[in-house]
């Protein structure tokens, strides 16, 4: 019998010919990514007397949650990280490039079939490139940095076959919110996901990243797309390593296969306080918003900014609403500037922030006051996520965020824009 993508990747990582779902293994990790959580890892490792990491060349450190430093304490944290990066001989340090998940992919650190662990739950994003990637905490990361390995249980896999469409005005974010709403935020708990089918095949890598990113919101450990020619084409020139196509065996065994037909799908909105609390936008009763946020590792990429710019061009952000635009990386900001999008945003009255995680986890800039409401292109709307425990977050696509910024209430983007963006 064949293997799923998760089984194949873990068989490779554990040096075995075959791994089956449910099996416990010890895996050697290909890449270890740490953001600001590298600071506590470094402190721990030094305390334990670890002078050398397992392999510094496998380690990538990126500053994104607090960049540029908002407080002296954070500045000290960044300083500590820079010193530790130096001491441990880590060459892959990207202190000011943008959000870790975006930067990891842009820099070609994510390769199909590899096992990648990161100190951020949205490390599942790299599944868009066919990588087995998952988030871990700082204690496990400290262990991995020192030893190169970690215990793991090979997860069973569920497959979502995406078919139908194209649906005008619908983005990949609407598809993942729809899945969370229909199948719940536990559907993939302790499991891997494979997104497949004709819609998955025609999606851009940026759109795939949105689904893989929110795979963790369905409980998933890994959230794969098959690495196809589009994937290897993207990686050309970004990595010196060989990037091969990577997919499941044709006779792989799945725990469940769900078919999702997106024909006629409406824009979707997740209501507070759970990403699975989803309704089609036509069901949503008039909802004013104080803040609209376009950015994050879910939806701060060039295609997201392009759609928002298309909607905002020649229009104004509602005076009662503030629109924050945060590109996912410096590269995205540069491309958006060349394409004229940043000018469109500024003319519409939006505020552009440096690339980073910013308001999404309620860490840095754009926090919400009590009883304020934000419509956001991010991945989580947990209670108090973006500021006051009495604030509320509604999740939606970049198109819906842009349309809502114009009207000051959550608005169907098809009112302003009717072209298909699924490519």
């Amino acid at each position: 019998m064949g293997m799923t993508m998760a089984e194949k990747a873990l068989a490779r990582a554990s040096g075995q010919g075959r791994v089956e779902a449910g099996q416990y293994i010890t895996a050697i990790v290909d890449r270890m990514m740490a953001h600001e959580a590298f600071a506590p890892c470094a402190i721990t490792l030094k305390r334990l007397g670890v002078k050398e990491l397992y392999d510094p060349d496998r380690v990538i450190v990126i500053l994104d949650h607090y960049f540029p430093a908002p407080t002296v304490r954070m500045a000290e944290g960044h300083k500590l990280i820079r010193q530790a990066v130096e001491e441990y001989g880590i060459k892959h340090f990207l202190g000011h490039a943008g959000i870790c998940h975006q930067v990891m992919c842009e820099e070609g650190y994510v390769l199909p079939g590899h096992l990648i662990l990161g100190t951020d739950s949205h490390t599942t994003t790299y599944g868009a490139f066919g990588a087995a990637s998952a988030g871990i905490g700082v204690t496990e990361m400290s262990y991995v940095l020192a030893t190169g390995e970690l215990w793991m249980r090979a997860p069973p896999t569920i497959r979502f076959d995406l078919k139908g469409g194209p649906s005008p005005g619908i983005m990949s974010k609407d598809i993942i919110l729809y899945i969370a709403g229909v199948f719940t935020t536990e559907v993939a708990q302790y499991r891997a996901i494979e997104f497949a089918g004709e819609v998955a095949a025609r999606m851009s890598l940026a759109s795939r990243m949105t689904l893989s990113n929110m795979g963790v919101e369905l409980g998933a450990k890994f959230a794969f797309f098959e690495a196809d020619e589009k994937t290897t084409e993207y990686l050309k020139g970004r990595t010196s390593e060989e990037a091969r196509t990577f997919g499941p065996d044709p006779d792989a065994e799945y725990e469940a296969i769900h078919t999702v037909d997106i024909t006629g799908l409406e824009p979707q909105v997740a209501l507070p306080d759970n990403p699975g609390n989803v309704e089609p936008i036509s069901e949503l009763v008039d909802q004013p918003v104080d803040q609209a946020f376009l950015g994050s590792c879910t939806n701060g990429r060039l295609e997201d900014l392009a759609v928002a710019a298309q909607i905002l061009k020649g229009r104004q952000v509602n005076p009662r609403t503030r629109l924050l635009v945060t590109p996912a990386s410096q590269e995205v900001l540069l491309q958006a500037t060349r394409a004229g999008y940043t000018e469109t945003f500024l003319q519409a009255g939006a505020h552009i922030t440096p690339a980073g995680c910013g308001p999404c986890p309620g860490g840095h800039m754009g926090l919400l006051a009590s009883n304020e409401v934000c419509v956001s292109s991010t991945n989580r709307n947990f209670r108090g996520r973006m500021g006051s425990p009495e604030s509320q977050v509604f999740l939606a696509s970049p198109a819906t965020v842009a349309a809502s910024a114009i009207t000051g209430r959550i608005t169907d983007p098809r009112r302003f824009w009717s072209e298909t963006t699924l490519s």
Binding site: G137, Y143, T147, G219, P389
Partner: protein, 166 residues
């Protein structure tokens, strides 16, 4: 490894952000502890060492922030017994040696304030208030080893010592 305690009861999908809000992550403990599980404002103040949390499905969904289980451990919570857990939270709990047990049916069998007796090595869950017993999912030998050693860092320490010695 038996622990006994008074039960606090929570529902489904209690996420890591309410266990450890981002704005509190860099605060000193005295500030940080006030907002732990702020969906029940009295919890942080009234929870006593040894208390046990009973929860529904998907306890600890969300972030990789280790402060979520760490906050509960620091507060003195003896264990969490839930219908299911968010996987990163669950792994983090093992790594810092904070007991969390999956036990189907636990949410129905316990009321707030009941007394629980929990055997971690066998995952037997007993409601002493109404004399009911449930079988939870046992830890694997490797996870139990990490818990018994007091966390993954102690395992690492031992490994480094062996390496140095060998």
């Amino acid at each position: 490894m038996i622990s006994k305690g008074r039960v606090w009861k929570f529902g489904h999908d209690v996420d890591t952000d309410v266990m450890a809000p981002w704005s509190s992550l860099t605060e000193p403990w005295e500030e940080r502890r006030k907002v732990i599980l702020h969906i029940r404002p009295e919890f942080a103040e009234q929870a006593r060492p040894g208390d046990i949390i009973v929860a529904g499905r998907n306890w600890g969904c969300g972030s990789s922030r280790e402060q979520a289980p760490e906050n509960l451990k620091n507060l003195g919570i003896g264990a969490v017994v839930a219908e299911s857990f968010g996987r990163i939270y669950f792994r983090n709990s093992v790594a810092i040696a904070f007991p969390n047990i999956v036990c189907l049916g636990v949410h129905d069998v316990f009321e707030e304030g009941d007394e629980m007796e929990l055997d971690l090595s066998t995952a037997r869950v007993r409601n002493l208030t109404c004399s009911t017993e449930l079988q939870g999912q046992s830890y694997t030998a490797e996870m139990l080893n990490i818990l018994e050693k007091g966390g993954l860092l102690n395992v690492l320490k031992e490994r480094l010592l062996n390496k140095a010695g060998g």
